[in-house]
């Protein structure tokens, strides 16, 4: 699973090894301090007088939505961007800006969401490369490389084959390699961008264990994560940003998921929703005895107009295959799908589209969107014949349509011809939605509708889902995000080993009970 939305959370303490370890005052263990940082891009102010502080031995959570300026703040911290004004103090010494090498030399290390590793090089080289570079060595020393790498791995107590190429190791190991790379270059502060998104629950626990070890050895860790609960668990301090300004800071124990969300979004995100009265509604989709060997079997359910149906289950329970089968991306071997009584050919996405089924995939980047193309093209693709006028494309109607969707779905974009990859995760998801909505589907299958989008956008997307349902579309939400399912769905089908294990009605269970059921 990949994520695109970027979120900021930062925590930070560090090492006490530079001789200045007389802890006379509380401020003495401040490793890095940013004061009054302003950053302008052209006419846009990304950061407007932001203060940020990283202390030795503590963990800080820097929270903020997409566009809040947290990514910019981190870029300034690591020297990739230069602030327009403001001061940076490293160990009490003032700088107007730092460059990447200075930042690295003073022990600031970033673990990017994509880990920024070299997949063609070995684990050992990946860990030791930066260290070797900063040593200004001209010759490559294989022995030293292996030694540095082994030491770093030993410090976090994991065992990874030093000679394996990084392309061959699992995701969780790649992250550990990235952490070790920071350790090898004597990191005093490790900034982690979305560290938990690609990991399973067990791997997250292992990671948190390692984070605690790092903190014990005096290394600061700054978290950037969507999963606020996980962040708070290991952080001591919280900084929240909104629209390029500080909006809250304090000890992590003073915050909880809800208050953090409020600070980040500037509003209370409603979690409950009125149940829809759909008893009288027309039955749209009927799935009968659907089965596919090795994926799922004996699937029966109905979907009414205006209903939001959730499908959940652990990874491997068959939920993704089922979602794809509904849209014909996976060909079931038996059973049938009918829409308003009309049989839909199985395993044929074009027929499904024509029948009025829309599908928004989980992996927007690889399955759903043309990233380097504009919003307008992404919305219009596949239905250029709707904009035909005498054999030519009617550009005005294309533009009108794209503008309409930008407005209706509150897509934050400079204009309709902006490249989709320049948008945040939440806005990309809205473009993907707009594409399908423009086809006026009768049934919409949403696979992980809010994977990789920030809290505010998530609430917006949930509101959009509700609006769509109210307008009479039948919606299937496939997700393992339990709060999301509880917020949006009237019924939840729980899948297990390819079968529908049980059906949970809205309001019947809370998150904890549902989680227990999922895990059982």
């Amino acid at each position: 699973m990949k994520l695109w939305g970027r979120q900021a959370l930062a925590a930070a303490p560090d090492f006490v090894f530079l001789g200045k370890c007389t802890m006379s005052k509380d401020d003495d263990d401040t490793f890095i301090e940013l004061k009054g940082i302003v950053k302008q891009y052209g006419g846009v102010t990304a950061l407007d007088g932001v203060d940020f502080r990283v202390k030795t031995g503590k963990a800080i959570c820097l929270a903020g939505e997409n566009g809040s300026g947290k990514s910019t703040l981190i870029k300034i911290l690591v020297g990739v961007e230069q602030p327009t004004s403001g001061q940076i103090f490293v160990d009490g010494k003032p700088y107007s800006h730092v460059n990447p090498r200075q930042a690295a030399a003073s022990g600031i290390s970033v673990i990017f969401q994509d880990f920024s590793l070299f997949s063609n090089l070995t684990v050992a080289e990946n860990i030791a490369f930066a260290t070797q570079l900063s040593g200004k060595k001209r010759l490559f020393d294989r022995g030293a490389t292996r030694r540095i790498a082994q030491e770093a791995l030993d410090r976090i107590g994991v065992d990874i084959d030093l000679d394996a190429r990084v392309e061959t190791i699992p995701v969780a190991h790649k992250q550990l390699v990235a952490i070790c790379r920071g350790l090898a270059s004597n990191a005093r502060l490790i900034i982690m961008d979305e560290p938990t998104t690609a990991l399973t629950g067990r791997e997250v626990q292992a990671l948190l264990g390692i984070i605690r070890k790092l903190k014990d050895s005096g290394i600061a860790v700054v978290f950037v994560s969507h999963k606020l609960a996980e962040v708070l668990e290991v952080c001591e301090e919280v900084f929240a940003l909104r629209n390029g300004r500080n909006v809250a800071e304090g000890p992590a124990r003073d915050f909880n998921a809800a208050s953090l969300t409020r600070h980040m979004t500037g509003r209370d995100v409603p979690e409950a929703k009125p149940p829809l009265n759909i008893d009288q509604a027309e039955t749209l989709l009927v799935v009968n005895q659907l089965g596919k060997e090795g994926a799922f079997e004996d699937i029966n359910f109905e979907l009414k107009a205006g209903e939001v149906l959730g499908i959940s289950g652990v990874l491997g329970s068959g939920r993704t295959s089922l979602a794809k089968a509904l849209f014909g991306l996976v060909a079931p071997s038996k059973g049938s799908i009918t829409l308003s009584g009309k049989n839909i050919p199985l395993g044929n996405p074009i027929a499904a589209t024509q029948a009025g089924i829309g599908y928004v995939p989980e992996d927007r980047l690889t399955e759903g969107l043309f990233l380097t193309q504009s919003i307008i093209r992404n919305v219009a693709v596949g239905r250029f014949d709707h904009h035909r006028s005498g054999g030519f494309l009617n550009l005005t109607s294309l533009v009108d349509e794209a503008r309409g969707w930008i407005e209706r779905l509150r897509i934050k974009a400079p204009d309709y011809d902006a490249e989709v990859k320049s948008l945040s995760g939440g806005n990309q998801q809205r473009v993907a939605l707009a594409r399908w909505l423009s086809q006026t589907p009768r049934v919409l299958v949403l696979n992980g509708p809010s994977v990789g989008v920030d809290v505010g956008s998530k609430a917006d997307i949930h509101a959009i889902i509700r609006e769509l349902a109210d307008s009479g579309i039948g919606i299937v939400v496939i997700s393992d995000d339990l709060p999301e399912l509880l917020t949006t769905c009237g019924r939840i089908l729980m899948m297990k080993d390819g079968r529908i294990d049980s059906i949970v009605m809205a309001g019947e269970m809370d998150e904890i009970e549902l989680a227990a059921k999922l895990a059982s």
């Binding site: 590793l117 063609n120 930066a130 570079l133």
Partner: protein, 333 residues
């Protein structure tokens, strides 16, 4: 480095190419017992020198994540203009000076590529496609379009310098020219740069991920600039050796060879996406291409078929490992 497990070995391009080479030699020996002789071997070695040096150069660009198609134009430009210059200024110049001039001209032309790629940040294929034409056109328009067969004496002298020569028991003549040593030196130097220097490891890293390389503070521009200058220098060397060995400075030669060279490199396992490539693989790829170009006739295939054969080898040699990788990925998913 890759561990040499059996499975690993079986899926590597090098292995596949080596197997094809052995099979080809067996087949050739079967149809003509004289094929497997010192004479054939030394002939093939002579034929491999120029394409070999060019292939090493092309491999380095591929590893760095770029592609260069202009090196043949650089080679012929450096060779011809060096010859013209030497004849005009000092015809008796020692051969090593002549070589140094050609290498220098090549490096300068490479620096022009480097300028466009590194400073202007243009795509490497576009840049080198452009300079391929510009360099060649400039050469033919301003420097000359006449073949020169009266080379400076020292150039002719170089082509007669032999490491070893003799007559086999069967009575056929063989000779190993010093030009072969040039290829050996280039291979060793490149091996050293790529595997024993931080610059070399940086080139691999840049090919693996340009963005990551920037982030950890690799001097990306410096390394890329070096790559294009190095390729230019090697092309200058290959060009002057080509002129000396062929005993003629032909401004129309070499250009057109670039795709064969890149084919040899790709056959040897270098990937067009960058970050991967071995000298062993490249040399095996060169051997196979040279073998096909020179000895196809021995196994009874008309020489006009060599293009088809090379094409099929490329499809097979690069397609098979790619297909295997895809299948392995599908299995594990």
């Amino acid at each position: 480095m890759n561990r040499l497990s059996l499975k690993n070995l079986a899926t590597r391009n090098e292995t596949l190419v080596a197997v094809v080479i052995v099979a080809f030699c067996l087949l050739a020996t079967f149809s003509d017992p004289l094929f497997l002789s010192v004479t054939t071997l030394t002939d093939l070695m002579r034929a491999s020198v120029v394409i070999g040096i060019l292939a090493v150069a092309a491999m380095m660009v591929l590893i760095s994540g770029g592609i260069d198609v202009s090196f043949t134009a650089i080679a012929v430009f450096a060779m011809y203009s060096t010859t013209v210059l030497t004849l005009a200024v000092m015809p008796d110049m020692p051969w090593y000076f002549i070589f140094a001039i050609s290498i220098g001209i090549g490096a300068c032309l490479g620096a022009i590529n480097g300028f466009f790629v590194v400073i202007c940040r243009l795509p490497t294929l576009i840049v080198t496609l452009g300079t391929l034409s510009v360099f060649r056109g400039f050469l033919l328009t301003f420097i000359g379009s006449q073949r020169i067969s009266a080379l400076p004496p020292e150039m002719r002298g170089f082509s007669r310098m032999m490491i070893a020569r003799g007559t086999t028991e069967a009575g056929s003549f063989y000779a190993i020219p010093w030009a072969v040593a040039a290829l050996a030196i280039v291979v060793l130097l490149t091996l050293f740069i790529l595997h024993k220097t931080m610059l070399g490891r940086s080139i691999f890293a840049i090919g693996g991920s340009l963005e990551s390389a920037r982030r950890i503070g690799i001097n990306v521009r410096g390394a890329q600039f070096f790559v294009y200058c190095y390729v230019g220098a090697l092309a200058g060397l290959a060009g002057i050796i080509h002129g000396a060995m062929g005993r003629m400075a032909d401004p129309f030669s070499l250009v057109g060879l670039e795709l064969s060279v890149i084919a040899a490199v790709v056959l040897g396992g270098a990937r067009l996406i960058g970050g991967y490539g071995t000298l062993t693989g490249t040399l095996l790829g060169v051997s196979l291409i040279v073998l096909v170009e020179n000895s196809l006739i021995v196994v009874g295939i008309p020489s006009t078929w060599q293009f088809v054969t090379i094409g099929l080898l490329i499809l097979l040699g690069t397609g098979l490992p790619a297909w295997q990788a895809k299948r392995a990925a599908a299995k594990s998913a």
